[in-house]
């Protein structure tokens, strides 16, 4: 039964993404972007990744798109949008919709409406069994802080430099004034 929800979410995602490109109003574009991200992140719980869903919700929807909105509303931006955007939107929709069907056909048409009577039996060793019983947060933590710890530290240092750079830039501008 879950596949119905997934297909509804995918259709909503495609529709809102294409309307986002094709809309006249800039504010409506940003709200449709928010709807696109929202419909995209609702697929994560079906993949047992509820933590990723919530983090995307808080950071993308709760912060980044809100800052887009702030910028547009406070600066009252009114750009002349591309005249061909509606055609581009329709083209993108068609391309993604048919590529979805192509991928499904590649994996076999029976995967479109999977039967619930299929049971999969496989053997697990002890570590794999223990790994399955962990929550999403614990799984991410086990991988991120051991195997990818060096990359994580590089990412964190990069963000620190970016923050310090922003602060230095702003204080430099204030000193010049």
């Amino acid at each position: 039964m879950e596949y119905i929800y997934i297909y509804i979410l995918i259709l909503l995602l495609l529709l809102s993404a294409c309307l986002c490109v094709a809309s006249n109003d800039l504010i409506l574009t940003i709200f449709l972007l928010a709807l696109t991200i929202l419909s995209g992140i609702f697929i994560f719980p079906f993949l047992d990744a509820e933590y990723v869903m919530v983090i995307f919700l808080i950071i993308y929807l709760g912060a980044i798109v809100v800052f887009f909105l702030f910028g547009v509303m406070l600066l009252n931006l009114r750009y002349n949008l591309n005249e061909n955007r509606q055609k581009i939107g329709f083209l993108i929709f068609v391309v993604f919709f048919f590529s979805l069907f192509y991928i499904l056909c590649y994996f076999g048409l029976y995967s479109i409406f999977p039967s619930e009577s299929i049971t999969v039996v496989f053997e697990l060793n002890e570590i794999q069994f223990l790994f399955l019983s962990l929550t999403n947060v614990e799984k991410i933590g086990l991988c991120l802080y051991t195997e990818f710890s060096f990359l994580l530290i590089i990412g964190m240092v990069t963000m620190l430099i970016a923050i310090l750079g922003c602060i230095a830039f702003i204080s430099n501008n204030e000193n010049k004034k």
């Binding site: 509820e50 808080i58 929807l61 909105l69 929550t135």
Partner: protein, 310 residues
């Protein structure tokens, strides 16, 4: 059937609580100001919320000229529905919740982030400069204090080892986190006031100055929905405080539902007490408090705690 019963036993008491919280607020504030509150409608004013509800229902709905109609109508509904959705995640006094999730604490923060949208949409769609400015102020205030709430929750998540609210409650069986993290509790209380746009952080609303801020152009039932959403948020945040710092329904390792209710009532009383006691913060003072005071202090405490644990 069970889900339906759970739903009914969550939503119906919630709606009644929201209505009578307004009466509690008015009565308590009037006591602080040495006067009687509403006492005309019903015995001791007990029917005042019903009278308020009927008044708001019967008022004329005014839609501003050249407002974006769809957004204008959607904003209060979004606000109210998100506020009600919060209550599906927060456990009730019997520690049962409708949506069981291993990340319930983060889901609450996520839903608070979506609450920001309803405020921005309401301000923008009203086609009024004052509504827009009020909504943007309120939104920036909410985003800032959300960050501080997330950082304040980190020690609690680390100590309880789970993001599930019920696990956090059970980990406070022997000692409440209020005694382990008192500074976090105080900062969390302050951040809650800012999140719910309550005094002394209610500049975006500031009933005596800006009239109503982001919901200035809303009347009748739309305003009622914003009003209900605000009080539902207050109830939800106080329940969250009880879950995270006051041990939920635990007292001296005894688990009774009445303890949860008593603690939540106390926190609600503290909200109203603060409203009647403190003047309003100016907007720059409000943001300064978050970014330069609460946030660095909570970050330092987190470093200290991590070093101590390591």
């Amino acid at each position: 059937m069970k889900l339906f019963l759970l739903f009914i036993t969550t939503i119906v008491p919630l709606l009644i609580s929201i209505a009578f919280l307004t009466l509690l607020e008015r009565k308590a504030m009037s006591s602080f100001q040495s006067r009687r509150g509403p006492n005309i409608v019903g015995f001791l004013g007990i029917l005042q919320p019903i009278a308020d509800g009927i008044k708001l229902l019967l008022k004329e709905t005014v839609v501003p000229y050249k407002s974006s109609l769809i957004l204008y109508i959607c904003a209060p509904f979004l606000s109210f529905s998100i506020s009600i959705l919060l209550w599906f995640i927060i456990p009730n006094c019997f520690l049962i919740n409708i949506i069981h999730s291993n990340v319930s604490l983060l889901l609450i923060f996520g839903l608070s982030s979506i609450n920001v949208y309803s405020i921005i949409i309401s301000g923008w769609s009203s086609n009024s400069n004052y509504a827009l400015l009020g909504s943007l102020r309120s939104a920036s205030q909410m985003i800032s204090y959300e960050i501080s709430i997330s950082l304040l929750m980190m020690p609690i998540i680390a100590f309880s080892g789970s993001l599930n609210l019920i696990d956090i409650i059970f980990s406070q069986k022997n000692i409440w986190y209020l005694f382990l993290f008192p500074i976090q509790a105080v900062f969390f209380l302050i951040s809650m006031l800012a999140e719910t746009n309550r005094t002394p952080f209610d500049l975006p609303e500031s009933e005596s100055e800006l009239v109503s801020g982001f919901n200035v152009e809303y009347s009748a039932m739309f305003f009622a929905l914003f009003f209900l959403a605000e009080y539902s948020n207050i109830l939800a945040m106080s329940a969250l405080f009880v879950c995270c710092f006051l041990g939920g329904s635990f007292l001296f390792s005894f688990n009774f539902a009445i303890f949860f209710i008593v603690k939540q009532l106390f926190i609600l009383f503290v909200f109203i007490w603060i409203r009647s006691s403190f003047p309003r913060y100016r907007f720059d003072q409000l943001m300064l408090l978050c970014w330069k005071n609460i946030l660095p202090l909570s970050l330092c405490y987190l470093f200290f705690l991590t070093m101590y644990l390591a």
